[in-house]
Subunit: 287 residues, 4 copies
């Protein structure tokens, strides 16, 4: 990397690679992210009911997912809005973990909730809107749980790495980055999936990087295609929304895959993931 360009990332010294093959492997609930395997994290946007969650967990586990996602705490934009099931949602996630062996990732919305969420979740998710909520980053870091840090809608890669650096500087190096689309003028997709972010981050940063094609696309028809490009870009995994009945989902139904669509996507991805694995091994041999 030429001198001038890399300087935009100067605020994040502890997450920049010092050698080409340096990498952080994040370990959570028996799963390794960043270690070679392409890890799929799947589940509903929100935990709605026990039945919805258990069915989804069993289905995605059978299709090859390794981590269950699902929101227990939701952004509560009014006193009347659905705010998630809260602790009850966390308990259901833990129950689904027992039944399926999947690890659990769920969002923490406030600093005060961090210890509670850390009791139940294997990975704490920091949402896009919270990427620069530094008090939350501190509280999440201090739980010592691995952190899934989603890029803000309008955050540069330098901004994202600064937030990652913040978590690491609080003594928690187990951070996974997630590209989920940025806000642009384009209206054909909900956000613009910045696939270059995956390539740049894998080149310069030691942390694992995954992609969220669901929020990027905003429409389920485009999710499997974006997932394929994430594999080709060298991403370490996927965060994807799946729902038994997307048309009845309490949130984000338009972008959630049905079970059948998820199965098709996983089958479609398999040979691309194999190629990705071959390639990484070849690159490592060289490095």
């Amino acid at each position: 990397m030429a001198g001038g360009w890399i300087e935009q990332f100067a605020d994040a010294p502890d997450v920049l690679k010092t050698a080409p093959d340096q990498k952080t492997i994040v370990r959570a609930g028996g799963v390794e992210v960043g270690g070679g395997e392409f890890v799929t994290m799947a589940g509903p946007c929100s935990v709605e009911t026990e039945r919805q969650l258990m069915e989804t967990a069993e289905h995605v586990a059978a299709a090859g997912a390794r981590v269950l996602r699902g929101g227990a705490f939701k952004p509560r934009s009014s006193p009347y809005a659905f705010q998630g099931l809260g602790v009850e949602g966390l308990r259901l996630l833990a129950k689904a973990r027992e039944a399926t062996g999947l690890a659990v990732v769920t969002e923490v919305m406030t600093a005060a909730d961090a210890p509670l969420v850390a009791e139940y979740a294997d990975i704490l998710q920091i949402g896009s809107r919270s990427m620069e909520n530094f008090a939350l980053l501190e509280a999440a870091a201090l739980t010592q749980r691995p952190i899934l840090l989603k890029r803000g809608m309008v955050a540069t890669l330098a901004d994202l790495l600064r937030s990652a650096q913040c978590i690491v500087s609080y003594g928690n190096p187990q951070v996974i980055l997630c590209e989920r689309g940025i806000r642009t003028f384009e209206t054909a997709t909900r956000n613009t999936f910045d696939v270059s972010a995956l390539i740049v981050l894998k080149e310069i940063c030691c942390l694992p990087v995954i992609a969220d094609p669901s929020h990027a696309a905003g429409r389920r028809a485009f999710v499997p295609g974006l997932a394929r490009t994430a594999v080709a870009a060298g991403a370490d995994g996927l965060l994807v929304e799946v729902h038994p009945h997307p048309e009845q989902a309490w949130s984000d139904g338009e972008q959630s895959l049905t079970f059948a669509e998820f199965d098709d996507m996983m089958a479609d991805l398999a040979p691309w993931c194999e190629l990705r694995a071959l390639r990484s091994r070849a690159v490592e041999t060289v490095a």
Copy 2:
């Protein structure tokens, strides 16, 4: 307003005007925002020392400011970063209020801090990065202090009004909106000051709207010009950074005005503010 266009603001019914002359007047520490007077809020980015704050407060009060701004809690992006003076900063702000009669506005960063900040401040500021931190909005709203809500760097006006609606729906109608520039491709200014936002908001929303030219411009040379456009757009006031020695400021020195520059700006603004006042009265007579 034609049917289709206004619908983008449908999530914020309680802050949309139902009559052209409807308006919310926000009252804080003896100052009225939105009531006709053009209110200048000025002070340093961060409270640094007693001397820095008292000098600034006395100077801006003498030059016509009505509210003192100053950060006591700062975004703490690492364990080593300056995090503001905290409670000590709040005490200094209160002391400056006593000495000058200025009202005090300061940012609250976390839900847990809201009651504490509300003990000292006349107006609680929600920063750009926190505009969609709904837990914080709730906690701030519940203190019943007036809220200064800054637009997120990449928030649409619909997003901004949704957050304002959130505060109002928690029982606190005393909300001031603040345009502070949005993120675009342009690099000549730190952000792109969206002056249309002031015009659109004054047309459709009953809340007072002020402008922060300091964060928009990012360079002090352009601050007075932007302030003039805010007056012309019909804004209810200004939030502006002033520092006794900008080149020594601990944060945002490049965009802070010196005392002399602040005096010049206030003198320059005076006739424009008079014109604005004449115009508002004329418009009200018609409406």
Copy 3:
């Protein structure tokens, strides 16, 4: 201006100020742009009929406009699209000039048309879509007519000045710049009017700068407010769409003012323009 910042404009040496009071006055058809007077250019988006144009010209002249705008050649996006009246449109513009004394500005779309348009128009307009059509810039420059150069929808100020530099380097220093809104994520207005552009350009560039609030706003209700902010920003004039019956306009009806609205705007602007004139004279005395 600090060293680093100004360097982004290094490609445009011949249009940067070398002294604070340096300015280019553009003279066209008896009108001076950039010389102190705030110059309003008004008229329909497209020249449609003789009656439409003559009525509009007479009305805007009576209300204080100095230049008549109107498109004779339109972007022809299909073999079937309205392509403007062409030469007939140019003849009508010339006729309206004779009747009213207004100068005429109209867009030139292709290099081949430049000499023809220059026969009829006092000022050649380069549209936003053509700002980097360098062959067209060359052909327009060589006619030696003054050029109105509109900023591209996504052009930085550095890009705009590079195009201005191109025209000047072909031997034609008579260039007027025009801010007309940039493309962002915001949907409340058609484009985001970058009022800082006016302030920055007046500070660093010797060319006159005007504003097009019609294309920026996209909705007529917001045009007069934006026009006021342009005056406050120190702009040298205005380019605004006016139509006898906007609801029947062949193009851009939503953003065109009626005659009555134009009259109101001009009356509203008058005291602000006076203040602007007082201020410029004061600044000049100092400089």
Copy 4:
């Protein structure tokens, strides 16, 4: 596709698919684009010398490219700027075609040049800056040569398809679309490569779609990675800059691949292209 969403493309009826397997195959100089094969177009940004062009042509042909790219006419942003070799450049391109069997694509900058460029080139390229130069689109269309239409830096997909529709409506259905990155706030890459554009366009539009990773990335290190994502997205080919000595290139050296880097990229892409071919055939069998 749901009713509402597809309506944003209503201005381009003749390029939208009416059946899932509908496709236009563009035939140029013995090459088929859109017919199944992944077609690589490679060469220097500008034609500089006979030696530079011939060496490059021979090298990229040997490595598997099917089309030679190279600019003969360049945007001429001043009277002194390098404007390309012009006709001499076209002759060199034709000579390289004879020597290698590669087809030739080169940019046409002005309507007046279209017939001349069409004498030499197999495919006429419309550059990003010209995407909405409708007079140029008309002139290029009328030559009846296949057209490579590059997306504007800030054009929505709806805008891009409207320009494609324009070409088709002038009687020329042989259009290839090209995604080359859009302008956003991100600074880590020159532009933001919109990989979703490839996926959306392949889903809704019958025209072939290729990717230009060189202009998107702006840095050669990221070009091969972006090329892989284009294959995974289902693109029909690639437009990529290659130069014998990028550090001496007269333009775009930072983003041009060396011969060795191009060879590595082609070898790296081969298995991904095979997978893409298998997948297309499987999809076609189903459709």
